[in-house]
Symmetry: C2
Subunit: 486 residues, 2 copies
């Protein structure tokens, strides 16, 4: 494993949920993998008055919980030597004294400011990094989602961040892009000549992208109620998956070549404006039901959610891309909480044969399908028709399958392990550029405006179902059905 260059990783929100559950365990695993150079340090930053030992005890507990390959005490002790804690408050000016002290004399190293805080703090933190003179030319800043609530607020954040850091220093995380299965989707599309002639209108009938969760809003009620599924999931994860499927082949896999192509897709998304939302979107909200066999409350009864909230916990969208390649090929997006299964998948349904040479009795209604599963397991499945054994020709769907975990015995990197490594290396490929983010908001904002102006309240669906019936009506109007449902 290649060693990284020396770095200081400054983790704002260092005692937060994401840092504890994901980021610090991922760093610990990269340390065990031998990627940390001698000079590398990780420093948690938060408002709390915490000793270094108390912080390390917290992180240790967390790393034990998320060890993956087993927890090694000797390795932990070595990692803990690199782990520091510094008190600072992004909302309080002139609170960065300790941090300045901590980073003094380390200007020759890569310096990473990882903002794992509420987005309302992004501007303030960047301002203070700037005024404290901490932003060296070797600095990078990492922004976690949500990057604003709409184009206006996103632009404000980007303006503040952009005043201190240049665009190539800014790493906007969409952790979906770090998933091995998403990486594999790129490999599939651009490593194999096989799919190229199939990857277009006339060959593909429709595409479905589903990100379904069984969880409810859990402890995130107040935040979620301000956000909703459209902004929490579609604006970032689902649109990024759509881009990777729909983008033209870039000339290289360099960050800007890839992001240029994704941007072109986002800009070619047909706007869904005004009354379009009535035909092309469905928003839903879960009522009481069951999740994985246990009774669960309605969204409106979740802690921190107003009893009259109209926030959507489910959204289905028919997206269209106005390009030569994709004209007439609908992309159906669907995401929600408290759905029947935890499932992330992309299903590409190919056109049927233009003419059947076989008797009517031989035929099967199932056209060819390529399924790329991201959750619960990474897998690629090609569904084709084969002959059912016997004297007559009868076609039956069969699956050519590839379980990625089975095929490759090496452990897959966690999305954050990959992304943190890329950040330290300065590889921007898997991060969103400002213009991408803006283009995504430009498509998302009119949908929310349409809902406010023309749509009724969200359609209710029972927790543990596949969402409101209206989502089925939307797709069946086009003559299709959601994958896995009949």
């Amino acid at each position: 494993m290649e060693k990284l260059q020396a770095f200081d990783l400054v983790l704002f929100g260092g005692t937060g949920d994401l840092a504890m559950r994901k980021l610090l365990p991922a760093l610990y695993r990269r340390f065990i993998a031998g990627q940390f150079p001698a000079e590398a340090r990780v420093v948690g930053v938060a408002r709390g008055d915490l000793t270094r030992d108390a912080y390390r005890a917290q992180v240790e507990a967390s790393c034990r919980n998320h060890a993956v390959d087993g927890f090694d005490v000797a390795q932990w002790v070595a990692f803990a030597e690199r782990l520091h804690y510094v008190r600072a408050d992004g909302a309080r000016p002139d609170s960065f004294g300790d941090l300045v002290q901590f980073l003094r004399g380390r200007e020759a190293f890569t310096r990473i400011f990882f903002l794992s805080t509420a987005p309302t703090l992004f501007a303030g933190i960047c301002d203070q990094i700037g005024s404290a003179g901490l932003a060296t030319s070797l600095s990078r800043v990492v922004l976690e989602k949500p990057l604003g609530q709409d184009l206006t607020s996103a632009s404000q954040i980007n303006a503040h961040v952009g005043a201190i850091f240049s665009e190539p220093q800014i790493f906007r995380i969409d952790h979906y892009l770090g998933k091995e299965a998403v990486q594999n989707l790129l490999a599939l599309r651009f490593g194999n000549a096989l799919f190229e002639p199939l990857w277009r209108r006339g060959r593909i009938r429709h595409v479905q992208i589903t990100v379904a969760e069984t969880l409810g809003v859990e402890t995130r009620g107040p935040f979620y109620d301000q956000t909703g599924a459209l902004r929490d999931m579609v604006q970032n994860h689902l649109l990024q998956l759509l881009c990777i499927i729909a983008m033209e082949p870039p000339a290289t896999s360099d960050a800007d070549a890839m992001r240029d192509e994704k941007l072109k897709v986002l800009r070619a998304l047909r706007p869904i404006a005004g009354r379009d939302v009535l035909n092309k979107t469905v928003r839903g909200q879960y009522k009481a039901g069951a999740a994985v066999g246990k009774p669960v409350v309605a969204y409106l009864d979740e802690t921190g959610v107003p009893a009259d909230s109209t926030t959507e916990t489910f959204v289905a969208i028919k997206a269209e891309i106005d390009t030569w390649r994709w004209a007439g090929v609908p992309f159906y997006l669907r995401t929600g909480k408290r759905l029947q299964e935890k499932l992330s998948e992309i299903v590409i349904t190919f056109e049927d044969v233009p003419h059947s040479i076989f008797d009517a009795e031989a035929r099967s209604q199932s056209p060819n399908r390529l399924t790329i599963a991201l959750q619960p397991k990474d897998s690629i499945t090609l569904t084709i028709l084969a002959k059912n054994p016997g004297e007559t020709m009868r076609l039956k769907p069969v699956n050519l399958s590839l379980d990625l975990a089975d095929s490759f015995k090496t452990r897959q990197l966690d999305a954050y392990e990959r992304l943190l490594t890329d950040i330290i290396k300065g590889n921007l490929t898997l991060f969103m550029r400002r213009d991408e983010l803006d283009a995504a908001w430009r498509w998302i904002d009119p949908i929310r405006e349409g809902w406010q102006q023309y749509d009724g309240p969200p359609k209710l669906y029972t927790a543990g179902s596949w969402g409101p019936a209206a989502a089925n009506s939307m797709i069946s109007r086009d003559g299709f059905s959601w994958n896995g449902e009949t």
Copy 2:
């Protein structure tokens, strides 16, 4: 299982090897499957003076050996009631008296003359069927390979048979066409829209068809020495497989629609004439070596083979098809005895990506491949490149596989079970039409003539190897290698 119409199946060569090993056990299995109507009879015909009971005892022993689903005594007793024996000699005129007697009054039933004898007897048997007045309008005749030794002798046989039976009454067997995997190849090609845009020049780089045997000539020495691999295997089996891969989509799966398309392929095969044989063919003959771990003798030391024989036991051919679809796509054919493995497979190698977007280190040399295995197991495998897990993008070949026996739990029909059922039903799709046969000989004959005129003796290869080194040179001149060899 659908019942067949009532029939008399007259099996010439009824005590022969093929009848005992394949045909009668296949009929017995179709009987168990409930396909025999009340009036159906099977009658073995041979020169020997055998009682019905003695014949039934022979067949019983054979059915016990080839029972597949287990031998059921009650079923056997019921089948034996349908089984008869009649003495007749195809080479001796006026010896069909008993057969005439046996068939009298059964003119309303389908009557099948199955000629499982030496092809030298085909003409005589047909003449006598004619002169004895046995050829009703409901009669069919089934001819086993080899149908002659070249175009001239095949035409003679076809003329004799054609004088008694019309073309739609003639079933020329190529048992490869009855194999489930070959049926599946048709299903794959014409049941799935997925493959159509890939199935052509510009998308396919080359095709390989391999039928490899570990067996030597066994007890067939004298016959084989008169035949050789080109006529024993290429003229029929390998060319039929080539046709199924290369044919244009027929309008229907009707016999003549399919056979018209196969014929077009055979007629579009670029002739290999004169000195072409030196570049486009390799013939080989095995010397002593090992088969499946045991020492075996050279072909020239096999029983019944002349010590100076130049008969080929191996042949490799670069075939080209002069059509819009296939111009520039070589079809490499290879078959032989005493090779390293028992293996029948078709490997379609697709073109590589036109341009790699990934770094040089990410690339893999393996292009996409579709492998259709007929032996030892029926399977379909699509080889694509996927990302090797880890932080960097490295492509590795992975297989999307479908084991047909695993996917469908029902037992697959033996090739002869399917073919016999088709014969009784009158379905000609899987049988060769006269013009197909003629076209195949028209392409094969000049190769043999070229060998006689320009080629040296066959290249020797060690039994248990993959054939002579010249076969590797032939394909590597084009920049390729045989699948499975490096």
